[in-house]
């Protein structure tokens, strides 16, 4: 089956039904390994056990940004190719990305309390992630207020592409502004600055979170396609009912 076949919603649904259980199983498996490794990872010599918050915080931050990147690609699909499946992909990714961004903000502030001595500072990285969360809420608000799904999807696509400017700002905020949040320590020139005993569990957790994201995303896309079909059937039924009456 070629990838292009998946552009057909019915074929896509069949694909999702086949793949989703295995993907969910794999997610559980990798989460089990990742959590086991994370629990057994050594404590940091300065931070103690609070370093383990990072195993949730960093993957959630990555996924929050991946969600918006995915929505931006879907937005191109919506605006350029007018593909209904791209609408569905964008809409399904929004609440999941928002949830991951919220997890990132909450875990970060729980870590900040013992480490920095405060739940929140107006640091460049923190602020730009908060802006990302607000942008997610704006897109969700657009979807909520639009009566016609197609119209809402196109409006959200425009906003998504404009909001994508924020992604590089988040990534480089720690380099451009020298503030409280530590600079990039995993993907950087000269190799990772994190010891392998902590880096490996982190990478496994990141993989687990990514798998979780795609599991949830595929399930949400399936639900959205079914929801639209139900809506179309209801509209048809209402029309038939209206025509049957004299």
């Amino acid at each position: 089956m070629a990838v292009i076949d998946l552009a057909n919603p019915t074929r896509f649904l069949r694909f999702v039904e086949r793949v989703l259980p295995w993907l969910a199983l794999l997610t559980l498996l990798v989460f089990a390994i990742g959590l086991y490794r994370a629990v057994n990872a050594p404590d940091d010599y300065q931070q103690g056990a609070t370093v383990k918050i990072m195993f949730l915080h960093v993957p959630a931050a990555w996924l929050g940004m991946l969600g918006w990147a995915l929505m931006s690609i879907a937005a191109l699909g919506t605006l350029v190719w007018r593909h209904p499946l791209a609408d569905v992909a964008g809409k399904a990714a929004a609440p999941i990305g928002a949830a991951f961004t919220l997890i990132c903000l909450i875990t970060g502030s729980l870590w900040g309390r013992p480490t920095w001595g405060t739940y929140w500072v107006w640091d460049a990285r923190l602020t730009s992630v908060l802006v990302l969360f607000l942008l997610y809420l704006g897109v969700l608000a657009l979807y909520w207020t639009a009566e016609d799904p197609g119209r809402g999807a196109r409006a959200a696509a425009v906003l998504t592409l404009v909001g994508a400017i924020n992604l590089p700002i988040i990534k480089f905020s720690v380099d451009w502004w020298n503030t409280l949040h530590q600079p990039a320590s995993i993907l950087r020139m000269g190799g990772s600055a994190i010891d392998s005993s902590i880096l490996w569990p982190l990478l496994i957790m990141a993989l687990a979170f990514t798998l979780l994201f795609f599991t949830l995303h595929l399930a949400a896309m399936r639900n959205e396609i079914l929801r639209r079909r139900v809506r179309a059937l209801r509209l048809m039924q209402a029309q038939q009912f209206a025509e049957a009456r004299p």
């Binding site: 942008l135 657009l142 207020t145």
Partner: protein, 225 residues
């Protein structure tokens, strides 16, 4: 040449509509005045404190005042059908929305900049700092208009104004607010940093001038078809 004539005609039409009866030109300035007057009642009439938070209050007031008038850019034209005429005209939609945005800036944002020194007097901001604050407003308010243009186009496409517009536009204006207030405060505390902050502010205005019309035109095109 024809393009410029059409641009100027459209801009003048919007400006005339804004300053005549039922237009919103002075409403923004009035709202700005009222908001700033409310602040001393909320935080107390301590002149030292007011001078300290003055730039932030003026920027916040300008932001809210421009937000309130944004939906007038497209909503009224959409209601009476002239937006459909404008969209089917030979003038590129990007140019049309730019003309409307410039008219909006001249009729509602420029009065804010003009009355800001008067309000600064009430907030005990010293004259020299006030001059640089006016400069930051002048440099930054075009960004507010052109970012707001996107929100105005999106909300008219969905036929929802008001709160949705605020939710969409405010997060995008955070950088403008940050650098606007930073420049104004730098002018008061350490004049050396003023140039850097106001350059960034100008850059933000230019970026939004490039992105705003295209995004707004796309939102109208895809939303109203």
């Amino acid at each position: 040449m024809q393009l410029m004539t059409a641009f100027a005609a459209l801009m003048l039409r919007d400006m005339r509509l804004a300053v005549r009866v039922g237009g919103g030109a002075l409403m923004g300035a009035l709202f700005f005045l009222v908001v700033v007057v409310m602040v001393p009642f909320a935080v107390g009439p301590d002149l030292k404190l007011l001078a300290h938070i003055g730039p932030a209050i003026l920027w916040l007031g300008a932001l809210l005042a421009s937000l309130l008038t944004l939906d007038r850019i497209f909503a009224l034209d959409h209601d009476d059908g002239s937006l459909d005429v404008l969209m089917t005209a030979s003038l590129p939609l990007e140019v049309t929305v730019t003309a409307k945005a410039v008219a909006h800036w001249l009729t509602t944002e420029l009065p804010l900049v003009v009355i800001a020194p008067l309000l600064g007097l009430m907030l005990n901001i010293e004259p020299r700092a006030m001059a640089s604050l006016v400069l930051t407003l002048l440099a930054g308010t075009p960004a507010l208009t052109f970012i707001g243009l996107i929100g105005a186009a999106l909300s008219v496409a969905l036929r929802r104004g008001g709160l949705l517009l605020a939710v969409l536009v405010l997060p995008l204006t955070i950088p403008v607010l940050i650098f606007g207030v930073a420049a104004a405060e730098a002018a008061m505390a350490e004049p050396g940093r003023f140039a850097a902050a106001i350059t960034v502010l100008c850059a933000l205005s230019l970026i939004s001038f490039v992105i705003g019309p295209f995004a707004a035109a796309a939102a109208l095109r895809y939303g109203l078809e």
